[in-house]
């Protein structure tokens, strides 16, 4: 009896330790953002919103935040469509070498992202296209599509093909079968991939580093540049805002498009 209790306590303690380890940096960011002193101080000396004021008043930060949201939104849509289509092709297309194709699709995850950024930068230079917004979105897609492919393949793997046959048998054309049966059933995997894509794009640093044009930088790049010369609570405030924004988008996607909108068999 006692040993069970001790085991249970140890188990809970280990869980809490991991949780604290994961969340502590975020807690420190919050303390940093709310502390009136321009440096990290512990214990905090007070609570103030002055760094948030400074962040929201800065046109540089605001345009960076908007650009980041724009790029993340475009990337999420493009990566979700591309990744889900690729996964469907791999799983259903009966294509030769689908294993090799899967490996290639997932390879950007294995390459250091900074190399991906550098390679893209050189490609754009060679193509002489400058540093357009779409170039940045393409770069972000490169590192986010693998997430969508992975999560979509996972749900397709467990998909019962007889459901599609049943729909066909009842008179649904292949297109209707896809939109009425396949898509709703693989949606949880696709949405999960889309959420990954949004988060990875929104706080993407290494790929963006080479692809943003001066004066038109995403939030992570702007924060990095700011950090090089100033270190004050604005960084903390910006971090808090981006954490909350990301959380908001995830919750919003979950609520509107729905991750739990179907009951599992």
């Amino acid at each position: 009896m006692l040993s069970i209790k001790i085991g249970r306590f140890a188990y809970l303690a280990a869980n809490w330790a991991v949780l604290i380890f994961l969340l502590l940096p975020i807690a420190i960011i919050f303390v940093f953002a709310l502390n009136p002193t321009p440096y990290i101080e512990f214990p905090p000396v007070g609570v103030s919103l002055k760094w948030f004021d400074k962040f929201f008043a800065s046109s540089q930060f605001m345009s960076a935040l908007l650009l980041s949201l724009e790029v993340a939104a475009l990337t999420t849509v493009a990566a979700t469509v591309l990744g889900a289509s690729a996964a469907l092709g791999i799983a259903r297309g009966n294509v030769p070498g689908s294993r090799a194709i899967t490996a290639i699709m997932l390879s950007p995850l294995m390459l250091p992202a900074i190399l991906t950024g550098l390679a893209l930068f050189q490609t754009y230079v060679l193509m002489d296209v400058g540093r357009p917004l779409w170039g940045l979105v393409v770069g972000h897609c490169l590192v986010t599509v693998p997430y969508v492919v992975r999560t979509t393949l996972a749900v397709l793997h467990n998909f019962d093909l007889r459901l599609e046959e049943a729909a066909r048998n009842l008179g649904a054309s292949p297109q209707r079968t896809f939109f009425e049966i396949t898509l709703p059933l693989i949606k949880p995997g696709v949405i999960a991939g889309g959420i990954f894509a949004f988060i990875v794009s929104f706080d993407q640093f290494p790929v963006s580093l080479f692809l943003v044009s001066p004066g038109q930088e995403t939030l992570p790049i702007t924060l990095f540049n700011y950090l090089k010369y100033d270190l004050d609570g604005t960084i903390g405030a910006a971090s808090v805002v981006s954490i909350l924004l990301a959380a908001l988008v995830v919750i919003g996607l979950d609520r509107t498009v729905g991750l739990r909108s179907y009951v599992k068999l």
Binding site: L163, E165, R168, L170, E180, L265
Partner: protein, 355 residues
Amino acid sequence: MSARIELSAVSKSYDGGARAVDAIDMTIEPGEFFSLLGPSGCGKTTTLRMIAGFETPTDGVIRVGGADITRVPAHKRDMGMVFQNYALFPHRTVRENVAFGLRMRGMARAAIARKVDEALAMVALTGFEDRRPGQLSGGQQQRVALARAIVIQPRVLLCDEPLGALDKKLRQSMQFELKQLQKTLGVTLVFVTHDQEEALAMSDRIAVLNGGKVEQVGTPVEIYDRPATRFVADFIGDTNLFRGEIVPAGAGVALKVSPELVLPLPAAPAASGLVSVALRPEKVRLAAGTDANAITPGTVESANFQGGHVLYRVALPGNRHLLVQSRNDGSGAPLPAGAPVSLSWAPADLVILKD
């Protein structure tokens, strides 16, 4: 509204390999309950899937109601199908599942609602409209699958081992219901099963398949009493198989199984030389003691009391054995092992088989 299905020389092979279905010819009459029966891998499911349009035959022609549908896509075939694990749409309610086929046909909402209610009433599922498949028992899911298939009033209803996942008792009651429903609707029903009892109980006719070929097509009684081949005799029910040489015996012929065992045959078979014959255990009359008029004497080796009847294993001369099913007529305990018995049967019950 029911249609004739004709398969002419239909074959299916995968990637140029062995033929899963090998030149099958078959005609299924309108309104018939037709079973495809065979062990796994015999080609019965592949045949059904070709009729449904999920597989394209490598060779041959499939006609429904006289029209060639070999290359018609599945969604334009107007057939209902009940799948092995029901294949209900998990993200849709019972009502939406049943309504699906009607919606695909562009029917008006009010008409759909009425037809769905009718179909659900027919399978006794009124009140379950708003449940999802995951919240139903196996038997209820089965009924939803059935309602979904019949609500579109198909010309043909295809069933792929639809009762396989149900427990025995439920399966029996569903067998009756399905048969009843099929007769009420008058729909042509093609039923795939590996369960011979189920096929015998439900079908108007049965096609026994083996290795992608049709072994025999016939009514349940024909299949059981007059099996055409050794495979059919062995696959359906318990049977005694003997193999021997045709020899003349008096005015007729007999089968010489061994020097000690010669069985009279009803008629000379077309084949000469070695032939196989089948004898059902319940066609054999077993009497205690010896009887000069019996076909052969024997010795009880074991008796297996099964309630309504006793299954004897009897040793015959020449080191052969015979299964005998003897009705429990209330005369007391089964004969003990070692008891001498005499065995007889009508020579016509000895069925000559093709190999």
